[in-house]
């Protein structure tokens, strides 16, 4: 296929692409492999990109690696669904379990900036009670951080991304207004609004990470509607255009097209750096700390692939929990035909939403919650939904596609419960680098299915109330979370609240893998908030000289103090 892809690494020779100026370059500090940098970060998306910027700004020496290329959106992103599959992580992975999930287009990125390059930009906070889901709501697990602390970091990230959202957000504790005004709600979003109002629930314009007014070299969103295949104007506030430039300006080095294959454990029981493949050869970067930020499949895969004599089951995996409690979010949808022209291809795909069923606990026969949002799939995505969801082909497919500009849809971001059985493990097959590939096992539990059924029935009513006819359903999943979960107890978690491994004190995780529960909202804002918190914690610990000591836990501080003395 004709592809506009960088053939070779661009972050080298003391410079990096200036993604905000056609053909532009910015200077980039570079480290030698032999330099023992403070932090080697694996992945440059919502977790790694954010952390690289915040740690570099705190004065640490940082090298961040990404397996994907460093795109220039202004010159290389086409308005074309096929071409833009170049943004996805399409290396083969085996999917198994009772409900094998699809991977690639809507949950796996392979580019500097990670999945934020093609995310839908929905920027929602967790409901406060979710951080204590076990204690307050009776399911899942508690997070080892408080909602009040997270709220401060949500403030920071919303400002860093200049989130465009409503003056008053209808749910949750009072909060300040969003930095930028909300986007105009398109007809697809107004269908959601009408349905919600008929059923007596609140809705609002979706808080989005695409600017509604100029910001530096980012122009306001022009509603071209290709957001989930990459923004060609840089209105989208992805890690690629927000955190990576900040990281570079603060002295971090970003290495694109650099696949990290193994983390090296030194004889002292600490990690010593990362083995990475770039420009045809394996190299080794020394580092005082390694942060894994490859998202909830690649992160456990790298830890498992880094098994060594001291950790034969994989790094940070002495309790066997690396890869376990993997979660997606249910992404069931209802679709219907409107008399009016909707033309949902215009504007960001989800311009309106309701969190009613995230914040309401009555009338549910399940734990957890869901948001639902208006939809705007491009033709290929919609045709695939019709084909795989309804099995349409021939005349039936033609007839269904002929209603394209009259379609409206509602889709959930639904919570699934964390279950040990759902997991990421190593497959027998190897990839182009000779590294064992991932096998992803997933199945819904009864609670998940009750939530999905509740959502579909409710959304059917909402869509009908808004005037839709010929309503039908589809199912899918979105997002990847859990698999290296954080906690307060080394027996039931992989890392502590700072993302720091219980087993190896200079090994960290910083991405969606950390989530003990997944909530009913898109995860990117929470991943970035956690990364900002981790950066502040690292800064504070470094100032107190605590980075050289193991992570403290209430459960085993006493035992470990002896071990490490």
């Amino acid at each position: 296929m004709p592809e506009i892809v960088p053939p070779a690494p661009r972050g080298k020779d003391g410079r990096a692409p200036d993604v905000l100026r056609p053909g532009g370059w910015v200077p980039m500090r570079q480290y030698r492999d032999n330099d023992e940098v403070d932090f080697a970060i694996v992945g440059t998306g919502a977790g790694g990109g954010t952390l690289a910027a915040r740690l570099a700004e705190a004065g640490f020496s940082v090298v961040a690696f990404d397996a994907g290329p460093w795109f220039r959106p202004l010159e290389e992103f086409a308005s074309d669904e096929l071409e833009q599959t170049k943004l996805y992580w399409t290396d083969n992975r085996i999917v198994a379990g009772d409900n094998p999930i699809e991977l690639g287009h809507n949950n796996s990125g392979k580019a500097v900036g990670g999945s934020t390059v093609h995310f839908a930009m929905v920027a929602l906070r967790f409901r406060p009670e979710w951080f204590k889901a076990r204690t307050k709501l009776g399911y899942g697990a508690d997070w080892p951080v408080s909602w009040q602390e997270m709220w401060r970091y949500y403030d920071e990230v919303e400002d860093a991304l200049k989130i465009a959202g409503p003056v008053r957000f209808p749910w949750g504790p009072p909060r300040r207004r969003y930095p930028y005004r909300p986007h105009e709600v398109n007809a697809a979003g107004l269908v959601l609004a009408h349905g919600a109002e008929k059923l007596g629930i609140k809705w609002c314009p979706t808080p989005l990470a695409t600017v509604s007014a100029p910001r530096g070299l980012s122009p306001p969103c022009v509603y071209r509607g290709f957001c989930v295949i990459g923004c060609s104007t840089n209105a989208k506030q992805s890690a690629l255009v927000v955190w990576i430039p900040r990281a570079l300006a603060a002295g971090a080095e970003i290495r694109d097209l650099a696949m990290v294959g193994r983390i090296e454990l030194g004889p002292n029981g600490l990690v010593a750096g990362v083995h990475y493949h770039r420009e045809g050869e394996w190299r080794f970067q020394r580092a005082k700390n390694v942060v894994v930020a490859g998202y909830a499949i690649e992160t456990p895969r790298l830890l498992l692939n880094s098994a060594c004599p001291q950790f034969p089951d994989g790094l940070a995996n002495s309790n066997g929990l690396v890869g376990k409690y993997f979660m997606v979010q249910s992404n069931d949808a209802v679709w219907g035909t409107m008399d009016e022209e909707i033309r949902w291809y215009k504007g960001p795909p989800s311009l309106a939403l309701t969190e009613h069923w995230n914040y309401t606990d009555t009338g549910k026969d399940f734990f957890g919650g869901y948001a639902y949002m208006s939809q705007g799939p491009l033709p290929i995505e919609f045709a695939r939904t019709l084909a795989s969801g309804r099995g349409l082909w021939g005349q039936a497919l033609r007839d269904a596609m002929s209603n394209y500009i009259h379609m409206a849809g509602l889709k959930i971001c639904g919570e699934v419960l964390p279950r040990e059985h759902n997991r990421v493990e190593l497959a027998d097959a190897t990839d182009e680098y000779g590294l064992r590939t991932a096998r992803v096992v997933f199945g819904y539990c009864d609670n998940d299915n009750r939530l999905r059924r509740h959502a579909v029935l409710f959304m059917r009513d909402a869509l009908a109330a808004a005037g839709a006819r010929d309503i039908w359903e589809s199912e899918s999943t979105a997002h990847l979370n859990g698999s290296c979960r954080m906690g307060e107890d080394p027996a039931t978690s992989v890392v502590n609240a700072d993302g720091r491994s219980w087993d190896i004190p200079n090994l960290w995780v910083c991405d969606g893998s950390l989530f003990p529960t997944v909530g009913g909202v898109n995860p990117s804002l929470t991943i970035q908030a956690l990364a900002c918190r981790t950066a502040d914690r690292i800064k504070a610990m470094a100032a107190r000289g605590e980075l050289d000591r193991p992570a403290a836990s209430p459960a085993r501080t006493a035992a470990r103090a002896v071990e490490w003395s």
């Binding site: 296929m1 004709p2 592809e3 506009i4 010159e75 290389e76 992103f77 086409a78 308005s79 074309d80 669904e81 096929l82 599959t85 996805y88 399409t90 290396d91 083969n92 992975r93 085996i94 999917v95 198994a96 094998p100 999930i101 699809e102 991977l103 690639g104 287009h105 796996s108 709600v185 007809a187 107004l190 969103c221 022009v222 509603y223 071209r224 509607g225 290709f226 060609s232 104007t233 009016e340 022209e341 033309r343 291809y345 215009k346 504007g347 033709p379 290929i380 045709a383 084909a387 795989s388 099995g391 082909w393 021939g394 005349q395 497919l397 033609r398 596609m401 002929s402 394209y404 500009i405």
Partner: protein, 201 residues
């Protein structure tokens, strides 16, 4: 099949040299239109079955000449082994699924109707495809390739993907097509910009 055109006169390609299409989009779509890839992966026999299947999955208007090519792009995807990012446990992988699936469909046609798939009339071809879709199959090859899973997860997905990547497919559903740097202004019910398709009742 003749079909009423709901968007007469509308052409996304007519916007090729307007602000709706940037240079990179032109390059990508021009290549797709002017330079369809040659057959590299499928054998001639497999190819003829694939072409016949595509013609039944996507009914193209008879007034259109030539038809939108679909098979060349599926062949290209297989030749370059460009997966979608996942493989179902127990299935042999994209390339083998297509090879075995085409062969099994042809065998199914011979077992059920006594003729090669390509030699069956359209209605009979549809019958075979419905049998595969419903898992009502008897060809031995399906033992290693669940028919329903292949039909829904591989055959349909790849064919509709390649068809709806073509500007003619965009035109017939009234899609705005490429839109960068110029996006859209009018977003409400029944509103459209001058560079969008006008629907005729």
């Amino acid at each position: 099949m003749t079909e009423r055109n709901r968007f007469p006169g509308y052409s996304t390609l007519a916007k090729h040299d307007t602000p709706s299409w940037n240079a990179q989009t032109r390059a990508v779509v021009d290549k797709r239109l002017n330079d369809p890839p040659p057959r590299r992966f499928f054998t001639e026999e497999e190819w003829s079955v694939l072409v016949a299947i595509c013609a039944r999955i996507i009914l193209q208007p008879t007034q259109r000449d030539p038809n939108v090519p679909i098979a060349p792009f599926i062949d290209q995807k297989m030749a370059e082994n460009r997966g979608d990012g996942f493989q179902q446990a127990g299935l042999p992988g994209m390339q083998q699924e297509w090879r075995r699936g085409l062969s099994a469909i042809d065998t199914e046609a011979r077992l059920r109707f006594g003729a090669a798939f390509v030699d069956l009339p359209a209605g009979r071809q549809d019958d075979v495809l419905h049998m595969v879709q419903d898992g009502d199959v008897c060809a031995p090859a399906w033992a290693d390739l669940p028919a329903q899973q292949f039909f829904k997860g591989r055959l349909l997905i790849d064919i509709v993907t390649m068809y709806y990547a073509h500007p003619q497919a965009w035109d017939e559903i009234g899609f705005g097509g490429p839109a960068s740097p110029r996006g859209y202004v009018r977003m409400g019910f029944d509103r459209y910009d001058p560079w969008e398709a006008v629907e005729h009742a």
